[in-house]
């Protein structure tokens, strides 16, 4: 996809060109949000808000500074971190009660037959540090290199590698039974 060409079309007044951007990035964005441990409902809200913010702030995208995917994922990452922090606070508040849905709980639209392993993985992801979780989720976005992930995380490539290693080790430990 030639992003410059699409941006030029948008500049020329072709709003529908933005739909091509959404079509290309919706899958990797959803995948990223899913791997952060968010529910489908939370992922949908954040993915939608990411694209709307990208549209509203297209003038702030500087091609010389970062690839479009990096810019888009930085918006998604920031929104997701806010949501994770919000849901962590909600969980703390509702501790001991049965109410208070968080980003990790199954929403009404989640698959009822959600795989046990997936649920365990989600619970394990929740126990990782946020930086480890975001690094791990970004690692599986094919468009992003380690250097770009490091840029998004505000860390060095070495630090990202350490986070990835730590995240995998913790997950292996937490999911020992599941993986064994």
């Amino acid at each position: 996809m030639d992003i410059d060409c699409i941006l030029a079309r948008i500049a020329g007044g072709d709003r529908n060109a933005f739909a091509e951007i959404v079509a290309v990035y919706q899958r990797p964005l959803y995948a990223f949000l899913g791997r952060l441990g968010l529910t489908r409902d939370a992922a949908t809200d954040i993915a939608q808000e990411t694209f709307v913010r990208a549209w509203r702030n297209l003038d702030q995208y500087i091609p010389e500074r970062a690839a479009f995917s990096t810019w888009l994922f930085s918006i998604a990452r920031n929104l997701a971190l806010s949501e994770l922090a919000r849901s962590a606070r909600a969980r703390e508040r509702s501790e001991g009660t049965l109410t208070g849905q968080t980003a990790f709980e199954h929403g009404p639209h989640d698959d009822l037959a959600a795989d046990q392993s997936t649920r365990k993985l989600r619970a394990a992801l929740e126990r990782l540090e946020l930086t480890e979780r975001t690094a791990l989720a970004l690692f599986y976005v094919r468009d992003l290199s380690l250097a770009e992930i490091a840029g998004l995380e505000g860390a060095t490539v070495g630090a990202v590698k350490v986070r990835l290693h730590r995240a995998r080790s913790k997950l292996r430990e937490l999911l020992e039974d599941e993986l064994g």
Partner: protein, 76 residues
């Protein structure tokens, strides 16, 4: 299958698929917002400044021409 492969498999399976109408939903939201000004576009006020400058230049040229004509007529 070793532990790492199983973990990778679980992580890959953790990804969601977007709903089939996701693009339409986003575009409906996008329609509520005005088209953003792109970086390559000059700001709107610049065209006003250019228009005013062009008019001022035209008036200046006209005044100069009339003044020159008046002086020339006086000399003759």
């Amino acid at each position: 299958m070793n532990l790492d492969s199983r973990l990778e498999e679980l992580l890959v399976a953790q990804a969601f698929e977007p709903p089939p109408d996701f693009v339409e939903r986003v575009m409906r939201d996008v329609a509520l917002h005005p088209k953003p000004r792109m970086r390559a576009e000059p700001p709107a006020w610049l065209s006003w400044v250019a228009a005013i400058a062009a008019v001022a230049f035209g008036i200046g040229q006209l005044v100069t021409f009339m003044f020159t004509a008046w002086i020339t007529a006086g000399v003759e």
